[in-house]
């Protein structure tokens, strides 16, 4: 992973926490990815059933709306690990050493606070819905499973932020250590490199490689 400075042989607690969380994050993002695939099939099936057989899927809109939570939230921690959530990097990409890790510590604390609040009240939102037996208007599907995804996904997000906080504090104390468990801060040219990786996959780094391969 280019974005993720993880040394797989590293033994410290941050590295271990980092490695143990990653598979769960991958799994949650994979579930979100499968939900996208299912939505693709569902939407296509709806067109076919409605126009060809005149028998649209009952509760189709309710089903789509309930499934949105899986796509909207489950990948949050995965995205955080890979540094995918948008930020303005103009200032932080100029910082080095303790200044950088000091800023990272503060910004991560802010993130932890707000996600913590949202887990708490997201959980309350779910409990109310569960106890009242909330259901969708049209097809009367229960709503609580979809609402439960918010505190679950955000809890993993919170854990990932904790790892990043530990990673930043560790480097704040001693900036000379090998960076572990933090999302790299990229300046604009490094960001461009990442875009290229995303477009071409890991096989390609520059055109020279490709011409060699021919």
């Amino acid at each position: 992973m280019a974005l993720f400075s993880n040394n797989s042989t590293e033994q410290g607690p941050v590295a271990v926490a980092d490695r143990s969380l990653s598979p769960f994050e991958d799994l949650l993002n994979l579930i979100a990815a499968l939900a996208i695939l299912l939505l693709m099939l569902l939407g296509s099936a709806q067109i076919f059933l409605r126009s060809a057989l005149n028998a649209p899927i009952a509760g189709y809109i309710d089903l789509v709306e309930l499934s949105m939570a899986s796509m909207a939230f489950l990948g949050a921690a995965y995205c955080q690990r890979l540094g995918g959530h948008i930020r303005m990097e103009m200032l932080v990409s100029k910082l080095r050493g303790r200044w950088l890790w000091g800023f990272e510590t503060i910004t991560t604390l802010i993130a932890l606070f707000i996600i913590g609040v949202l887990i708490w009240y997201g959980w309350g939102h779910f409990v109310r819905s569960y106890e009242l037996g909330d259901s969708t208007i049209d097809a009367e599907f229960p709503v609580w499973p979809s609402k439960l995804l918010v505190p679950i996904a955000f809890s993993f997000w919170f854990l990932r932020l904790l790892v990043q906080l530990a990673g930043a504090v560790r480097l704040l104390i001693n900036p000379d250590q090998q960076p572990i468990g933090i999302a790299k801060i990229l300046d604009v040219s490094e960001q461009a490199q990442e875009e290229i990786h995303e477009a071409f996959g890991d096989d390609a780094t520059s055109d020279a490689d490709r011409e060699d391969a021919k």
Binding site: L74, E89, V117, E198
Partner: protein, 439 residues
Amino acid sequence: MIIGIGFSNPLLVGLIGLGFLIFLVVIGVRVVFAAAMVGLFGLIELLGWGPAAGIVGTIPHSKSSTYALSVLPMFIFIGFIAFHAGMTEQLFNAARKWVGWVPGGLAVATVFATAGFAAVSGASTATAAVFSRVAIPEMLKNGYDKKLAAGVVAAGGTLATLIPPSAILIIYAIIVEESVGQLLLAGFLPGAVSALVYAAIIIVWAKRHPKAAPSVSGFSWTERFQSLPGISPIVIVVLIIMSAIYNGWATPTEAGALGALVIFVLALARGTTLGTMKGALMEAAKLTVMIFSLIWGVLIFVRFLGFSGLPEAFTAWILSLDASPMMIMICILLAYAVLGMFMDAIGMLLLTLPVVYPAVIALGFDSIWFGIIVVKMAEVCLITPPIGLNCFVVNAVRPDIDLTTVFRGIALFFIADVITIGLLLAFPEIVTWLPSLMK
């Protein structure tokens, strides 16, 4: 209540909140956290803990679980499949055979190929990256000027955000509560106009510098028609999406789903591996969660702004100005041009629209038209210094073309973009005509 002015002076709380949000974003807090945090504290100040937390706790789920937003993952997925399935080469190849004979033919072909790719992808930088690899070697081999070759690829990438399916236009529609379908349709003509203006300016330049941009000819009609099957998946997806939205035989989500299914099956049939597909899906999921997080984060902030009354106050102030609406519009656009130099387009739109949009509407401008023009502005910023990301992308794929050369190559296309924006200001019908025909 935190500082205790919430009840007596909500407007001041709104202003402080806005200032604090800008501060947090500048020091590098991710936009979703900054917006949600300021929104939460602002609401607490205005309404007290209980009601504020009640509102904030429900927003992520309730705002994400809407049918209108379900179109986003579909369009994002289509874009990622199209990348991984190598459809760019075929597009460029076809465009080269069909328009290579005009002056600056390969550069013109690049413009049309990027426009075609934009029709399945909403990602500007990625389009620039892919075409840096496909089109630049071909142009350099034919003796094209490096500046032109690099510039046309960086600029061509920006077409992706106007030509449907465009993620950023969908986000605009959600934030200002406009019809997603109308906005998608509205982007089509301005995107085409942008491409044509690019092509025209290349031809004019190539006529004056024929050695630096030679035409390539000698393709037979047979060869031309043989190049068409290669681009058929893209044509099919475009036809499905446009006709569904235009004629209303499917919702944007359903059209996106069918488009994704078609391109998914065709890509598999042409030998794209399941592993590659999984990669495309994982990336689509990651981009989806990023966009959704941004949306609910900003909506928490927007709820706070609504309670503070700041948008109304800003609108009243704008209306009280002694200047013509067009003058004010130009000032707003210039402000966006400056802001866009430092911020990502999606983040910039989400943070500014809640305040700016009501004022623009009060001035009598059309909301769909404004969406298109503001997105076009944000795109221009992707090719202008200091952080014209597309230029960096071209330089990163082709380290032999240095950054200064890319930025110099962009100059021509910057002029083209100014012309396009001028056209959109002078003839708003370019934007509003197509959506007005929608059934």
